[in-house]
């Protein structure tokens, strides 16, 4: 499932290929970033790279000896040295699957933004990341972008020289996107697609519900149901049941989880309980309807302590159930 370029080769061989590719004056930034992906994939890769650096420096120091060696070799016609021709690019099956899925999302919209690649050697590397149930996880991409996965969130990251695409499979993630006008950064979640060039934004996915909040920069939100929306800093879009609602929102509240607390502003209790479930190992259910709304800050902590906090700052009562907890909202007056 993961496809780091040259990962099928022995480290020394891969290090050599990378050096040759990067010595070429036509090498691009994408090549260097792909090299970084390979470098950080395994300690043996870094060791092989360092060994090569070392040996080349030594060879320079012994340059005179090596040149005299070369001079001694009779200048015969170049021998036909046939090595096996191994394609420099990884195989494509993974890329084909990705393009296919993306084309399915694009169907029904006016945008043909993703087309099957004409170049059969298009280099796409794909990797899946998951955060455990007990804490969040930060992924740093080769291009400098950062994805902070909240608990149990999962993303699939696909990078090519022309595009960076992240599929939010489930959960919530905060994105800090490194500016690269030549390679737009896209987040795919269900039918929705968030396109951005260089920003900070939060995407929370809960089944078919999606909330996108922008902290800085600009993103374009494409959905099957509605016309594309441009979201600027301080704006939030809620995608639910075929509708997209855009409103002003405090991005710091949406991204507060990255600092260890949850901020709610006039949120329905169902949303509070839904968010709390993300941090709980046992199910929390809401009883008594959704009439109450909550504004306040909760520190992310053990489940019972979080519910304790909630009980102290709101009018709900928390009780243990057979397999978890029940939050009883006070009836509306």
């Amino acid at each position: 499932m993961t496809e780091v370029p040259f990962s099928d080769l022995a480290p020394a061989e891969a290090a050599a290929r990378w050096r040759v590719r990067l010595d070429d004056p036509d090498a691009t930034e994408a090549d260097w970033l792909a090299y970084e992906t390979w470098l950080t994939a395994a300690p043996e890769h870094q060791q092989a790279s360092a060994a090569l650096d070392s040996a080349l420096i030594d060879a320079e120091l012994a340059a005179d000896q090596i040149r005299s060696l070369d001079a001694r070799v009779p200048d015969a016609s170049p021998e036909a040295e046939r090595g096996t021709v191994v394609p420099l690019r990884p195989k494509r099956p993974r890329a084909a699957a990705w393009w296919g899925a993306a084309a399915a999302i694009a169907a029904g919209t006016a945008f043909l933004m993703l087309r099957p690649p004409l170049d059969p050697t298009l280099r796409v590397t794909t990797r899946t990341y998951e955060a455990p149930a007990t804490r969040d996880e930060t992924i740093r991409l080769a291009d400098g972008s950062q994805i902070r996965l909240n608990r149990r969130a999962a993303v699939e990251v696909a990078q090519s020289p022309a595009r960076r695409a992240v599929t939010l499979l489930r959960g919530e993630a905060a994105f800090t996107v490194a500016h690269d006008a030549a390679r737009p950064f896209e987040v795919l979640a269900g039918d929705a697609r968030v396109v951005d060039v260089g920003t900070e934004f939060n995407v929370a996915r809960d089944g078919h519900k999606l909330v996108v909040t922008v902290r800085s920069g600009v993103v374009d939100l494409h959905t099957r149901a509605a016309a594309p929306k441009t979201l600027r800093a301080g704006m939030q879009a809620r995608v639910e049941r075929g509708t997209v609602r855009v409103a002003a929102a405090d991005p710091d509240a949406a991204l507060a989880w990255t600092e260890g607390h949850l901020v709610f502003r006039d949120a329905p209790m169902s949303e509070v309980v839904s968010d709390l479930n993300r941090y709980s190992d046992r199910p929390i259910r809401l009883e008594g309807g959704d009439a109450s709304r909550f504004s306040g800050v909760l520190m992310i902590d053990e489940t019972d302590r979080m519910l304790d906090q909630l009980q102290q700052v709101s009018s709900v009562r928390v009780a243990k159930s057979r397999d978890g907890f029940v939050v009883k909202a006070a009836p509306a007056r």
Binding site: P11, A12, E13, A15, A16, R17, R19, V20, L22, D23, D24, P25, A27, T28, E29, D31, W32, L33, E36, L39, T40, Q46, Q47, A48, S49, A50, A51, L52, D53, S54, A55, L56, I57, D58, A59, E60, L61, A62, A63, Q65, I66, R67, L69, D70, V73, P74, A76, P78, E79, E81, G83, R140, A142, D143, G144, A178, H179
Partner: protein, 171 residues
């Protein structure tokens, strides 16, 4: 007084964290990465922006050269001492204050040079020619290909084979 902006400096500023991260992975040292990226800025401040075609790739390439420069100086001082000691004898015991490379470091340097020579001596003639011209004389693939009358991809294949053997030496 801040330097005038240029596409190269803009590219550097936008990528500085990415560059530090890359060189930290390359050198396995955060401190070394910071030094390299700092030196990179000093060097690009002198380059007229018009001459650089692909600023981003240029930054990585220049940074790599700086990394190799630093390796080279570190290695040279040890190797130079190894050569010096061979001709002049070991003399006094190493002075702990002067931070000379220890006898062990000098021996390691000599052994490494010997290992590299041993590998290079196994190169078939064409591989040796390509390696010498590209790595030691600093000529581009295109230039080496032209000089030897072979294709650029043949040059690349020879280099790959040579580099693979050198990488297998292990650090």
């Amino acid at each position: 007084m801040s330097p005038p902006s240029s596409p190269l400096i803009d590219a550097y500023l936008a990528r500085r964290p990415a560059l530090v991260r890359f060189f930290a992975a390359r050198t396995r040292s955060d401190a070394e990465a910071e030094d390299i990226v700092q030196e990179l800025f000093v060097r690009i401040a002198k380059v007229p922006a018009e001459t650089v075609e692909n600023p981003a790739a240029y930054l990585y390439r220049l940074g790599s050269n700086i990394h190799l420069d630093r390796l080279r100086s570190a290695r040279r001082s040890v190797a130079r001492d190894a050569a010096y000691q061979e001709t002049m004898g070991d003399g006094d015991a190493a002075d702990p204050i002067s931070a000379e490379p220890s006898p062990e470091a000098r021996w390691t340097a000599r052994r490494r040079l010997a290992e590299v020579m041993a590998v290079v001596e196994t190169f078939p003639p064409q591989r040796l020619r390509v390696f010498t011209r590209h790595k030691l004389d600093g000529r581009s693939y295109a230039e080496v290909a032209a000089e030897l009358g072979i294709s650029k991809s043949a040059v690349e294949k020879h280099m790959m084979a040579a580099l693979r053997q050198l990488a297998e030496l292990g650090s």
